[in-house]
Amino acid sequence: MADGSIYNYDILILATGAKIAPEEIDGMKAEEWQKSVFDFYTFEGALALRNKLREWEGGKLLVHITEMPIKCPVAPLEFAFLADSFFKHKKMRDKVEISFVTPLSGAFTKPKATAALDHLLDEKNIKIEADFAIESVDNDRKVIVDYGGREVPFDLLVTVPTNKGDEVIARSGMGDDLNFIPTNKATLQSLAFENIFVLGDASNIPASKAGSVAHFEAEILTENIKHYIKGEALSEEFDGHANCFIETGGGKALLIDFNYTHEPVEGTFPFPGVGPLRLMKESRMNHMGKLAFRWIYWNMLLKGTHIPFVSSHMEEAGKNFN
């Protein structure tokens, strides 16, 4: 510990999360930081950006992802959709040009959701700049530059900087090049030490870094640690289940549900064929679902109450995989 005290363990669960590292990109955290270059993944960043948006008179707004993986890969998209809605409300949408700049080849990481989301971006008049691997931010000229020499100008850059695990992981010699901990994607056991388990954003498993994922993982992890204590095989297997609401503005939202092997598709949730929530379709009901989730979060999730009808393994019924 920082104060020099020492704790021994038989079993260690690491859940140190991920945080932004804007210093990874030349010129990102420089003169224009929190003047025209903002993040919204920290409290300070979000607050500074809110104050900026209150007085901003318009121009080129870039919503930008530096590199993958990031926590909540849909958050920047939500930001773009909500910005569209925000400027419409302020009756200044015509003064703002919104572009979504991403290192990926489209709006999201999975093909079917990408097609649906690309369509929504188009409908909301948000331009997409894909395959953009940023090298630097030019503070004088207010442009971002990628390794291929491509440039995109901005008046307001809202970026999601590189996400990294905590330095404690690097100091412990346990991390990969982004300080994420190599972890068995099914059992959630560390690959290097059998008495260390990893929960949530801190691991390197190929699942979304999302609260819903950490929640589903926790149920698996509990069982596996019980197995480990008894000296049994770690039989519970995490399937990569993620479930995310995407606020799309104007009181609507979209819901996606997916895992390691099944990409998000259309269907109904949580009751196959019934809903009431529709997967991959923008609807008011989905927005209501997100609002209801606030209550569920404080009154059920934090107390460890199981949410009825939502299981840690993804439900395949009620989905149109074709």
Partner: protein
């Protein structure tokens, strides 16, 4: 599905990535490169061999990893394979498109 590449029927996925690496030959790689408007040089083939080797050793490929390798830097990677170098080079190499993307 199958696609005719360099005169042979090759198994590919719907984005055109080989699904069976044993079908890869340098001719197949060269034909895919040509489709992507890339003229292969010995340096290109060195990079392709490096990527194939990384893949064989189960190293997840990313732009960042390439930048940290001692084989080439990101600038050169872009010069060799402009426009989405990781996407294009892995396709030519006959290995899966990197799933850095979740």
């Amino acid at each position: 599905m199958e696609k005719e590449i360099a005169g042979k029927m090759i198994k590919v996925n719907d984005e055109g990535y080989l699904t069976d690496f044993s079908q890869w030959t340098q001719e197949v790689g060269a034909a895919i490169a040509e489709e992507n408007n890339i003229v292969m040089t010995p340096r290109h083939w060195e990079v392709i061999a490096y990527l194939q080797n990384e893949h064989k050793n189960n190293v997840a490929l990313s732009i960042r990893k390439i930048g940290k390798s001692d084989v080439l830097d990101i600038k050169e990677f872009y010069q060799l394979f402009p426009q989405g170098p990781l996407k294009t080079s892995t396709k030519i190499a006959g290995i899966p498109k990197p799933a850095s993307c979740i």
